[in-house]
């Protein structure tokens, strides 16, 4: 396989990652959101391996393996262990914005990302950067949006993790020679995010009996009455 083919396949992967991000916005089932996250992470590591092949970079082979270990295996396992089934079985009926509007906005965010990275990409010699940087930023922005629109706790957590995926999609193109130790530390950190937020979600369920994060609105500022 020539490296040109590998890069073409990488473009395909990057496109599919973006579609997975759209799917996460469009899915009502909580279980579905988790599945699309795993698929997105798998695609991310595939993209990593393809680039590793075309640039024959040890760093990227390692990064792909780390991504599979952390995001495809560890995070879903941790969340399964921490959260009871009723988190997964829920359907979100009421989101802050309805799904078609949400998807339109996500589309707009892709355009914004393309626009923002335009001047940077123009100077880049590497064709991979031209694909991965705008799509990575689009992935981050769409994940932020899904985080805002969602009400359930688990999809919100997945939104944060999907943001990380977007940053990494850009990262494998622009910072492929990042030290292995930093990559390992970052991956460990992502798993820790899942553990900590998972633990927190579980105690919120136990104490307050809700899996809906948007219901938490007790603490706010009320004007003082000056007597």
């Amino acid at each position: 396989m020539a490296s040109a083919t590998a890069e073409a396949l990488n473009t395909l992967c990057a496109g599919l990652i973006l579609i997975a991000a759209f799917a996460m916005v469009a899915t009502r089932q909580v279980q579905g959101v988790v599945r699309f996250f795993v698929i997105q992470s798998l695609l991310l590591s595939a993209s990593c391996f393809l680039l590793a092949y075309s640039r024959s970079s040890v760093h990227l082979w390692a990064l792909g393996a780390i991504t599979i270990g952390a995001k495809v295996i560890a995070i879903p396992w941790v969340l399964r262990r921490l959260l009871p089934d009723d988190f997964y079985e829920r359907r979100e009926i009421s989101q802050a914005v309805n799904i078609p509007a949400s998807l339109l906005l996500a589309l707009l965010l892709v355009v914004v990302a393309e626009f923002l990275t335009g001047p940077l990409v123009a100077t880049a010699k590497d064709s991979v950067i031209r694909i991965n940087l705008p799509l990575g930023l689009a992935g981050v922005l769409i994940a932020v949006w899904s985080l805002v629109a969602r009400r359930e706790a688990l999809p919100q957590l997945i939104g944060i993790l999907a943001m990380e995926n977007g940053a990494f999609l850009a990262g494998i193109a622009i910072a492929s020679e990042l030290p292995i130790i930093a990559e390992l530390a970052v991956a460990m950190d992502v798993v820790l995010i899942a553990v900590v937020v998972g633990l927190l979600t579980r105690s919120i369920r136990k104490e307050l009996g809700t899996t809906v994060a948007a219901g938490l609105a007790e603490l706010k500022e009320e004007p003082v009455s000056w007597r």
């Binding site: 981050v140 977007g166 910072a175 020679e177 937020v197 927190l200 104490e207 994060a213 938490l216 603490l219």
Partner: protein, 481 residues
């Protein structure tokens, strides 16, 4: 070597707190380990003062003036808060006592992360350390498992962890810019030395991303909304750490990066820092007027002070940089004192509402006078140290010819001053709501308040020569002209 030791001590302490037979001794372990790290941090910084720089492992763990200052601040606040936690955590009704080891274990892990961030030289690892800080503080904020605490922890987690991937994007862009300019192993020093030849567009983009990501963790407006919730609901010793130094550490990263961007000739970023800093100060000051909860009051004052530091750094002159680092020091020591006092009041009266605390000075002369002292100090009344650093920032602004900035900053500081003192006045004086409630305050809490008040009083009238030269060294790292 002291730098490596400094980082291992809290890790060892966390493991010790976790070992089953030692679980009842969590407090003792934490006090000893944190005082040990404080002593080591003093050692490191005196070394920095005499040699300019301390290298633990070249390219990995290095400390210059700015990091030494942050190390001393972090370890000082951590050691005082550990002492305070002894009496406070034992008396907390909500927290079940057999889970206390979990609290101390987390506390030491947080200490590790807080100390790691300033002593690491590799920026990507600094990102990891700052993330760890957030994660361990989320666990500590939610420790009491009440509705309010869990809600605060959730908001805190979502808002600040959301900043993480954005900042990561920024760090990756920085790496790209550094490597395109021909840099080798990435360290803060290395980046700064070739900042002039890096692509200014990339540098600006990465600064923007890191500013958004870490600004949320610092509590800069408009991403400050988690801060009053987390700082009012967390156990008080944790509040002192969060408000005193947990906000300072991400700000330290922002300032480091700001100095890099300022070294790049085409980027005009200082003006934006001034504008965003003033917005934070304004939001902090006006919300201070209308708070009803005294812990939230001190939390909003943190938003205000972070804004002041950012504004000073944005002025980018040497005098303003000196003001910024002094403000960092003075804010950390004063704000942690404020939260110890708030914890004492909460223990004595078990209410967080300003309106239900009246005549405190008669109910408990100790708590009342401590409240007055700490409020005067945090509001910036002379002769307290915050007055001095705010004054030096304002005069640096005058020298730089930024009259509008100085006028705005001064009037906002006055608004915050009036607001804090109005609230403190209503709490300290007046007819007591409860007549003869004389709660015995735990000795450890009294000691912590007195010991924390000592530097606040002293630094206002006398700055020892080593502290001054450390501040000078730190200010030089900010790269003002």
């Amino acid at each position: 070597m002291a730098l490596i030791f400094l980082l291992t001590v809290p890790l060892v302490a966390a493991v010790l707190c976790w070992i089953r037979p030692l679980r009842t001794a969590g407090w003792g372990i934490s006090v000893i380990s944190n005082w040990l790290t404080f002593a080591l941090a003093i050692g490191v910084s005196s070394n920095v003062v005499s040699n300019g720089r301390v290298v633990g492992v070249p390219g990995w763990f290095e400390a210059d003036g700015l990091s030494a200052l942050v190390l001393v601040l972090v370890s000082f606040v951590l050691s005082m808060a550990a002492v305070f936690a002894g009496g406070y955590m034992r008396r907390q009704e909500h927290s079940d006592q057999h889970r206390l080891w979990w609290f101390y274990c987390n506390y030491n892990l947080l200490a590790f992360a807080l100390l790691a961030a300033p002593s690491l030289a590799e920026p990507n690892l600094v990102w990891v350390a700052v993330e760890l800080i957030t994660l361990f503080s989320v666990l500590l904020v939610g420790f009491e498992s009440t509705g309010g605490a869990l809600e605060a922890a959730w908001k805190f987690a979502v808002l600040t962890i959301m900043g993480a991937p954005i900042a990561l994007f920024g760090f990756l862009t920085l790496f790209w810019a550094y490597h395109s300019a021909g840099g080798g192993w990435e360290t803060w020093e290395g980046i700064r030395s070739i900042a002039g030849s890096m692509d200014p567009n990339l540098l600006k983009l990465s600064f923007l991303l890191i500013f958004v990501g870490f600004g949320a963790k610092t509590g800069l407006a408009p991403m400050h909304t988690w801060l009053p919730d987390a700082h009012s609901q967390a156990p008080t010793p944790v509040c002192a750490v969060l408000s005193g130094v947990k906000t300072t550490v991400p700000l330290y990263v922002i300032l480091r990066f700001l100095s890099i961007v300022l070294a790049s000739p085409t980027a005009r970023i200082g003006v934006w820092m001034i504008v965003l800093g003033l917005v934070s100060v304004a939001i902090g000051a006006f919300l201070l007027l209308q708070v009803r909860d005294y812990k939230r009051m001190f939390a909003y004052s943190t938003v205000e002070h972070m804004g002041i530091i950012l504004t000073a750094a944005g002025l980018a002159t040497q005098a303003a940089d000196f003001g910024a680092v002094s403000q960092m020091l003075n804010h950390a020591i004063t704000k942690s004192l404020c939260f110890y006092v708030a914890g004492v009041i909460l223990m004595a009266l078990s209410t967080r509402e300003i309106a239900s605390v009246r005549g405190l000075i008669r109910i408990s002369p100790f708590a009342g006078s401590a409240l007055l002292l700490s409020s005067l100090a945090i509001a910036g009344a002379p002769p307290f140290p915050i007055f001095l650093s705010e004054f030096s920032i304002l005069s640096a602004g005058m020298h730089a010819g930024q009259y509008l900035v100085v006028a705005l900053l001064a009037s906002l500081i006055v608004i915050a001053f009036v607001a804090i003192l109005l609230h403190a006045n209503r709490m300290a004086f007046g007819t007591p709501t409860v007549s003869d409630l004389r709660v015995p305050l735990p000795a450890s809490c009294r000691i912590a308040v007195l010991a924390a008040a000592l530097p606040v009083v002293l630094l206002g009238v006398y700055v020892p020569a080593p502290v001054n030269s450390l501040l000078q060294l730190a200010a030089r790292q900010l790269g003002g002209h």
